[in-house]
Structures are given as structure tokens and as C-alpha cells.
């Protein structure tokens, strides 16, 4: 191949926006299907109840109250992000940064709390199918929340340096992932409650 090119061609701004939107949506579709597979798997094992061993006496669920608090924090984080993002998406506006910071802190706190909930699940061996599903749901949620928090930190770096201007679409596409994380985590938590 000929690599003697001395010029780069910049991509048009609207294509940059479109590809960011499409890329994040693809990521969400893929991840949502993984979540769906876990939920379907959990429901399937519950329905089969193989040899009556799906859930036996002594099997327990993740702590309810901390889980509820995590979900409340997540919903508030989503709403706070939405409040900030509505303004930040508009050109020449940076949004109301405290709302972003609130969303980030809540997401970070939720991630840490969910990790603590997951780590506190000290199931005895053998871990039965019910507890296996709960373990997977809890850790899967924790990983999602921590991932969203890391993305939020990176976005926070951009905002604090004032480099969101001209890249407002980043607030929008991070928002897609942010809202998806909230919804997916809520779904997994509700499903865990349903299994209980």
C-alpha cells in the first residue's frame, strides 16, 4: 500500500456526531443482550428447579436495604445527569456543572456500595443455582456502575478543562450509556427481587 500521503482529511462534524451516537448505541445493544441472557438464564433455572435444588433452605439474597439505597442513588444520578445534559448539549453552553458533579458522585457511590454488597455475599460452597444467579447479577451490576463512574470521571476531566465546547455530542452519547446503566441496573435488581 502507498503510505506517502502528506495530508489528512478531517471528518465533517455531523459525521463525528453520528458515528459517536451509532457506536454507543451498538455498545448498548450488545450489552443489553448480555443482560437479557443473564435474566433469561436466571428465569430458566428458576423454572426448571432441577432436582429441587435451585434454592434450598439457608440460601439468601443480597441485602435489601443497601440495594434499595443504591437504586435510589442511581435514579437520582440519572435525573441529575439529564438535568445537566439538557443544557450542556446546546452549543456555547456548558450546562450546570454541579448537577453533573452530583450525578457523578452518586454513580461513584452506587458503584462502591454495589461492590461492597457483592463482596459481602459470602455464600457457602456449593453455591446453589439461586445464589449463583444472585452473585452474577450483583457483580454484573457493580461492574456496570464502576464503568459508568470511570466514564463520568473522564468526562469530568473534559468539563473542568473547559473542553466540552465544540464536543457537546460527548455529553449526549455519555448520557445514553448513563441512562442505560441506570435502567439495566434497576432491571437486574428488580429481577433479583423477583427471584427472591
Amino acid at each position: 500500500m502507498d503510505t506517502s500521503l502528506e495530508h489528512t482529511h478531517e471528518i465533517e462534524p455531523h459525521i463525528k456526531v453520528a458515528r459517536a451516537r451509532a457506536g454507543v448505541l451498538m455498545l448498548i445493544v450488545s450489552d443489553a443482550l448480555a443482560v437479557l441472557a443473564i435474566l433469561a438464564g436466571g428465569g430458566y433455572l428458576r423454572a426448571l428447579n432441577t432436582e429441587g435444588q435451585y434454592k434450598v433452605a439457608g440460601d439468601f439474597a443480597p441485602a435489601f436495604l443497601p440495594g434499595l439505597l443504591v437504586m435510589i442513588a442511581l435514579v437520582l444520578s440519572g435525573l441529575s445527569y439529564f438535568w445537566w445534559e439538557r443544557r450542556a448539549r446546546k452549543p456555547r453552553e456548558t450546562g450546570q456543572t454541579p448537577f453533573f458533579l452530583l450525578a457523578l458522585v452518586l454513580m461513584l457511590a452506587a458503584g462502591v456500595a454495589e461492590t461492597w454488597i457483592a463482596a459481602a455475599l459470602r455464600y457457602g460452597i456449593p453455591i446453589h443455582a439461586y445464589e449463583s444467579v444472585q452473585l452474577l447479577l450483583t457483580w454484573f451490576t457493580a461492574v456496570h456502575l464502576l464503568l459508568a463512574a470511570i466514564i463520568g470521571l473522564l468526562l469530568g476531566g473534559r468539563i473542568l478543562r473547559g473542553r466540552l465546547v465544540g464536543h457537546e455530542f460527548i455529553a449526549e452519547v455519555v448520557g445514553y450509556w448513563w441512562y442505560y446503566t441506570v435502567i439495566a441496573s434497576l432491571l437486574m435488581w428488580l429481577f433479583g427481587m423477583y427471584l427472591t
Binding site: D2, H9, G23, G41, Y44, Q53, A129
Partner: protein, 650 residues
Amino acid sequence: MSDTISSTTVAAVKRPNLINSLFPSVISGIVLGVAAAAVAGVLVNRMTTAFSPDSVPNDDAVTAAVYTAWVLFFFIGIGAFNGVFKWAFGRREPTPAEELQLAGKDQGLWRYFRFTTDHKVVGMQYLATVFVLFFFGSMGAFMIRLEQSRPGAIFFNPATYNTIVGMHGIIMIATTIIMVSGPFGNFILPIMIGARDMAFPRLNALSYWLLFAAIPIFFSTLALGGFPTGWTGYAPLAVQELTPGMDAYCFTILVFAVSTTIAAMNIITTVMVMRTRGMTWGRLPILVWGVLLSVILSLTAFPSFIVSQIMVLMDRIFNTSFFLAASGGSNWLYEHLFWFMGHPEVYVIALPAMAVAAELITVFTRKPLFGYRLLVGGLVGISVLSVIVWGHHLYTSGSENALVGPYMLDTELISIPTGIFFLVLVGTLWRGKIWLTVPMLFVCGLLVNFVIGGITGIYLADLPTDEILHGGMFVTAHFHFTLVGAGVFGFFAGLYYWFPKMVGKRLDPLLGRLHFWLFEIGFVGTFTALFYAGLQGEPRWSANIAPPFATPNLIASLFAILIAASVFTFIYNVIHTLVLGERAVANEWGAKTLEWTVPTPVPLENFEELPVVTSLPYDYGSPLPESPVTPAADIAGAITQAPVQPQVEE
């Protein structure tokens, strides 16, 4: 200047010295990855020993830590994250010079060993990897045929034989998944749609190097006791199997699935947003449709496979019970999660190959494609139906009777859109001026083999016949006719067709014909014999064949010698062409798709000015001066100057 170019920047490129060239590169990646894997292994070994009540390390946890460290630090070492955090934190955007450096500017052949973002480099990396994996997979096949050439153990004990069969299966499945979408989807597809690169060039390089990182993990299974489950990795055997080779298998699948998912996201986004002006959905070349639908299927199917492997690893490392019946788990869960990926994966392999056949048949009959929209509809129909048929793999597993009827029906419905594919291709051949080149020979081979694979599939879709044939050699022969007959023949058709554009040299047509005939005769002979053995009742997964099946197996093994000869003929042809081959012209076949309008070798960013597309690229019935693209001056010139049937191969 085209509207798509908002500005052009002159880049002051720093010429790399030796140190800059070597680091970061695949060498630094391997060094750092291996070192980190060793450290992680020692640390986790000590930690698990310390926390274990009986002071025994958790081998599965150690294996998991080693492979995680290998992948992560390999990517740090190869420079995949260089500049990413600066960009992510908004400290600064990459300069045009850095972009060009990353795209491999003036780095010669060494750019193929670096984290290079140019889609053509990534395409060539995929192509080289396909060659290597295909060679190893083929060697596995010949070892199998050698062992099965007569009854009794000849060379291998049953455990070694199982590992060889499993490795052959995984290598070939992975290779055929990337066979068309990897090399041609990366090199050709962006040019075909009039784009300068993929939507996410860094992700493109990432997807390839993830595949690369998975290869040593996979081959490490040999040193870790192998995996006795075969390519499907069925649980609970995968959970109960004590060798760490099974962990290596799970990690291979995870890394490969993530690589495929990233590639799928990138290709879908590229086709959605990077098409040039006038390249409407109704004007997309068929190859683009085939690859697009294939990767959409990947994106849909692979998450369940990823989840299944996470569950297996959890069962192995943390003693959970997703698949252990004694603790409320179920093997059926694995089978559902696996086959929800496993059946669409057949079409992940077949769709791009079918699209290659359709793409080429218009060029070599000099006719418009018969029923373009019909064919696109057929391919979409196959894609949709393929995700709802996985239950037919569980007929004999004791699944609910009420599900059998619907699964039989929807499996058989796939015959309709597949039949449309054949109708369109035969309709295009009808009264065409057929130019029987090497690519066209492989297209004809694909049509013959895929018909046999498709028709024999009907017997496996129907419960009454499947009850008899399931788990036998008939199934082996059927899926080889489908995956090799369509996937591999489609790949070779595409390779002989696009090789001149990708490499700048023309593969020797005489050796190409020899390759085709050896392969076709050997392939049909081998697997027809196995159809017969299957009908006689020979089971699969048996290391030693029983005496009643000796004759068909001997015939199959003798025909396999022809396949082996075809592989070596092909390797010789590639090496001979690279060293002594004739230079190719820009439009080798007088074709009308956009990749033939750019110079050979293809420059970085492909187009100086982006073309505007005004029609489908298959209007061979029209007078040649009517080019499907503008700007017309140089591009139409390239097309009109190309002979209608250039480079006669006799």
C-alpha cells in the same frame, strides 16, 4: 473538493527511528504481556494458597489472572492506549501528524506489526492471520483423517484425538467467522462505500489485536492438559474437567467474542454513517450487505456466548452451580446459551461468502444482478430467521415436545430466502457471457456445495430423521458442506478476485485452477463418503472407527489427500506470486464497484476526492462509458479503459 472534506491539513510527520519503530510494537506488547502474566500468576498463586484452608492454590483463578494480565499488558505494550487518556481527559486532541503516524505512514512492512489504524493494514493483518489459522486448522483435519483411515488407534490415544478434534473445530469456526468479514470487510468494504477509513480506526486495530492476543491463549491449552469437550465446550463437562486447559478455552472464547463484537460495532457504524454521497441503502454493493448482516448477527448472537463462558468460569473458579444439576443448575442452560449463538454463527460465516458469490457473478457474467432487492430481502430473511431456530440443536436433549413443531417450521422456512439466493445467482448466470476465471470457478463450487449442504440440512431440521442422524457422521458431512462449501469457497473466490487490489500482484491462474479442482474433488469426495458412513450409523466423536465403517472412512481419507495437495498448491501460489508475480492493474477485472476506481497500491485515506455515486455498480448491460461514479474524468477512464474480459487466463 468534496463536501465531506471540511479541511485539509498538511501534517509535519516525524520520521521514525529504530527505537520509535520497535517500541511500541508487537514485540514490546509480547514482552510486557508475558512479564505481567508471570507476575500475576505468582501473585495469585500465593494469594489463593494463603486464603485456602488446606493451603492449595486455585489453579483456575491463577489461570484467569495470568490470561487477564497477558491481554491487558499486551495492549499497554503495543501502545493501544497511547494518547487515549490524554484525549479522554480532554487534555489535547491528536495532531494530524500523530494520526498519520498511527495510520502507518512511511513505516514500510513494520506497520503490520504495530497498532496501526489504517483499515487496509488491519485487513491485511486479518488476511495473514486467516492464512496461518487456516493452515493449522487444515493440519488438524488431516491428522483426524489420518487417524480415521483405518480401525483402531494408529497415532493418537483418545484424549489426544479429542483435543485435536476440539482444536480443529475451534480454529476453523473462528477462522471462517473472520474469513470474509476480516480481510475484505476491513480492506475492501470502506473503499466500496466511498469512505476514507472505518468509523473508529483505533477500535479497528483493537479488534484485530484482540484476536491476535487470543491465539497464544488458545494454543496454551495444549500445555495445560487440553480440553476434552470439543469445540462446543459443553457444560457440565467443561465445569467438571479439572485441567486448566478448559480455562484457556473459556478465555479464548471471551477474548475472541469481544474482538468480534468490537469489529461488528465498527463495521455497522461505518456502513451507517461513512457512506459517500449517493451511496444510498438501495445502491450498496451486495458484499456490503452480506458483511453488514453478518456482523449484525454477530452483535446479536455473541453476548449470550460471552455470558455462557462467564458462567462456566464462575462455576470453575468460584464453585457456583449454573450447570451442575446436583446444586440446581442445568446443562440445558448452556445448550440454549451456546446454540443461541451457534446457529446464527453459521450464517455469520455463510452470509458474507454468499455475498461474495453474488458480487462476483455480475462481474464475470457481465450482467446486472438478477433481482438485487430480492437478494437483499433474502439475506435479511435468512438473518432474521436464523436467530429463532437454535432449538433444533436440542431435539435429542429432551427439550419440551411443544417446542419441536415451531422449531422445525422456522428452521425449514430458512430454505425460502436461501432458495432466493440460488434463484438470483442462477438468474444472473442465465444467458450471461460467462467468463470462467479462478474466482468464478470458486463461485460455481460454492453453488454446488452449498446446495448439497442446504438440502442435507433439511433432514437434520426434521425431528424424525434427526433422531436417527443426530450425533453421527452425517451431521459432520452436512456442516462441512455448509461451512467449508460456502464459507471457505466464498473466501477463496473473494481472495482470487481482490488479491490484485490488496497486494498489487496477480495470483497465478493456472495454479489457481489446480487449487480449485484439487480442493473441489477432494472436498466432495471426502464428505460424500462421510455422508454414507453417517447413513450407515457411524457416530461422531469416536477416536477409533468401528470395522463396519472402515471403507467409507478410508475413501474419505484418500480424498483428503487431494485437499492437502490443494492447500500446499495454494500456499505455493501465494509465495510464488509475492516473489515473482505479475503486477496487477488498477481495475483488474473491469469491475464497477468503487474499490476498482482507486489506484493500486491504494493510498492512505483511499480517495483524494470522495466520489459521488449515482447508480448501482452492476449496470453491465449499459454502455460502458456510463460510469456509476463521479468525478468522472479519471475514474470513468479507469473503468472504460479496462477490457470487458481482460487478462484472459489461458
